[in-house]
């Protein structure tokens, strides 16, 4: 086979697959969202946005993303810099830190449920220390703050690893000469971090943030395991429309709303962290 046709033959399977299972469903979901029966309508959007739970679930989702993502960014940057300076045990530490990468959001929710539930480990510890006399039911409507904290902690615990992996890979691409030169000119470690690591890491920061923010808006199973109906989020409402209310038009409209928010934030991140042309390594 000649070398002009071969690459197209090789990419054909993926292209076909993505057309059928990625592009086509998007057309379908848009069609479903904008129609009831046959004609074009905004009825589905009106229905979901006027539902009393909508503002709450929107606020919860955004609030959670705003609380979790900056902490994850700071934590993953800290871990990534720690690991690049490591001499002994680097592989072991990296393995431990990336374990949550393989753990599903549902399992992460259950792990933190073991800590926060009424007979769980947090209550056991607090009881042992004499802070409380009898176990407190933390994950109930009387303690909305604790429910939020538990979900946020589970998210931070689970999803920092993906940012860490991207950032460690990114730091590995920065040429060592830059640091050596900076050291010769007497730049402190903190200065080196600010003036070399952060700017050079911009493409990785971009990827990490985009991926993380999109996943933050998709939060679903962690909340289902820990908060149940106490803490409605957008994705959970979408699931409820599809399953409990059997209203796939409304579910499609919710899906498009989540998609619009994700795209909006992706564009903002790409704009804010844009890499000047020709400045990449």
């Amino acid at each position: 086979m000649n070398a002009r046709i071969l690459p197209y033959v090789l990419i054909l399977p993926v292209t076909l697959f993505l057309c059928v299972f990625f592009l086509y469903p998007f057309v379908l979901v848009a069609k479903q969202a904008f129609s009831t029966g046959a004609c074009f309508t905004m009825e589905n959007f009106r229905e979901v946005t006027t539902y009393w739970k909508f503002p709450i679930s929107m606020r919860n989702t955004l609030l959670l993303a705003a609380a979790v993502v900056p902490i994850q960014l700071a934590l993953s940057l800290l871990m990534a810099t720690m690991v690049t300076r490591m001499q002994k045990g680097r592989d072991l530490v990296l393995y431990i830190w990336t374990i949550p990468l393989g753990i599903s959001d549902l399992a992460a929710g259950l792990i933190w449920l073991a800590i926060f539930e009424q007979s769980g480990f947090l209550n056991t510890m607090m009881n042992g220390l004499g802070v409380v006399d009898k176990p407190v039911n933390f994950l109930s409507y009387q303690h909305p703050g604790v429910v939020f904290l538990a979900i946020a902690l589970a998210e931070i615990w689970r999803a920092t690893a993906i940012m860490l992996v991207i950032l460690v890979a990114g730091i590995g691409l920065i040429p060592k000469e830059y640091y050596e030169a900076a050291e010769v000119f007497g730049a402190s470690p903190w200065k080196r971090f600010l003036r070399i690591t952060l700017p050079m890491l911009r493409p990785s920061l971009q990827t990490a943030l985009v991926l993380r923010v999109i996943l933050a808006f998709e939060i679903f199973a962690v909340v289902a395991a820990l908060g149940g109906t106490l803490f409605p989020v957008l994705m959970g409402e979408t699931y409820a429309y599809q399953f409990d209310l059997l209203n796939s038009g409304a579910a499609a409209a919710m899906a498009l709303i989540i998609l619009a928010i994700s795209i909006g934030f992706t564009l903002i991140i790409l704009r804010v962290l844009r890499v000047p042309k020709g400045a990449s390594i």
Binding site: I99, I111, Q118, S119
Partner: protein
């Protein structure tokens, strides 16, 4: 960033007899650095350890208060899990779907990875953009319209139908990982094989494939983990043939604590093993994907 200056110096655990204030700050920094690393490791491990205590304790202990801090190695919870109606078939479905996803994402994705690393062709940029785009979309949402499409084609509630959706999730990764793996093998090796009488195909079989096989395995394992962990699409697309994640999610309100924890633990164990198996490739793959 005191740990940075510390790591640059010679690691010297013995106290220095003629210690100056500077070396004192350094050993303080070293202490801070090591305890930070240890603390962050504990942050990851301790919650998993708690789940393990609950899994390896009897149902009575799991539901009692206060909790022990050591597992009693009682298989009661796990036996209950195995005996729970529908649980074992859910486990089987999970493995089946993940296995299919693994095979499909490699068979479909790897040729594209090879094409990206070896050829310059028109539309290459657009193609890469399409791949990156799929990674930047909330893909599980696609399950909603596909549920309708699958009912029409008879794929609804089947392992294959769900595996197709999970393959969409895994394919951007398998293309990018295989792209970076193939790029790591010099084309000169292949060219040498051609001059010695190999065709493109036999050169690929005899020279490239043996070198690439471990990496391909890693990428397949990654696809397996993606499918194994996926909750939303699995819950939307399966009704009778639920996967383990979908089954656990559906029964969250009704199932007792020890069932939840045992189920969670069964979800975690393969992840621990698989991440260990692919750890070498995680960073290489993201390095290339960032460019």
């Amino acid at each position: 960033m005191s740990q940075a200056s510390m790591a640059a110096s010679v690691p010297d655990p013995q106290p220095d007899p003629d210690a100056t204030p500077a070396t004192n700050t350094r050993s303080a920094g070293r202490f801070l650095y090591v305890s930070g690393v240890v603390l962050l490791c504990a942050w990851v491990i301790v919650p998993i350890y708690f789940l393990m205590i609950n899994t390896l304790s009897s149902p009575e202990t799991v539901n009692s208060f206060p909790k022990p801090f050591f597992p009693e190695f009682d298989l009661g919870s796990l036996t209950f899990f195995a005996g729970f109606a529908g649980m074992l078939s859910a486990l089987k479905n999970s493995v089946l779907v993940a296995g299919m996803t693994m095979v499909m994402s490699i068979v479909i994705g790897a040729p594209a990875g090879y094409a990206l690393s070896r050829f310059e062709f028109r539309g290459k940029g657009t193609f890469r953009l399409l791949i990156l785009l799929t990674r930047a979309f909330p893909l599980p949402l696609l399950a909603l319209p596909l549920a309708v499409m699958f009912i029409r084609t008879g794929l609804d509630d089947t392992a294959l139908g769900l595996a197709l959706v999970h393959t969409t999730l895994a394919i951007p990764f398998s293309v990018l990982i295989t792209f970076s793996l193939f790029s790591g093998i010099p084309i000169e090796l292949e060219e040498a094989a051609w001059t010695l009488g190999c065709t493109r195909l036999t050169a690929f079989q005899k020279v490239v494939l043996p070198l690439i096989l471990p990496g391909i395995t890693a990428s397949a394992i990654f696809a397996f983990v993606i499918s194994w962990n996926e909750v939303f699409a699995a819950a939307v697309l399966t009704i009778e043939n639920r996967t383990l994640t979908a089954f656990l999610l559906q029964n969250l309100d009704t199932s007792p604590l020890h069932l939840k924890f045992a189920g969670g633990f069964i979800l975690v164990v393969p992840a621990l093993i698989f991440i260990f198996a692919v750890r070498k490739y995680l960073f290489a793959m993201w390095g290339i994907a960032n460019r």
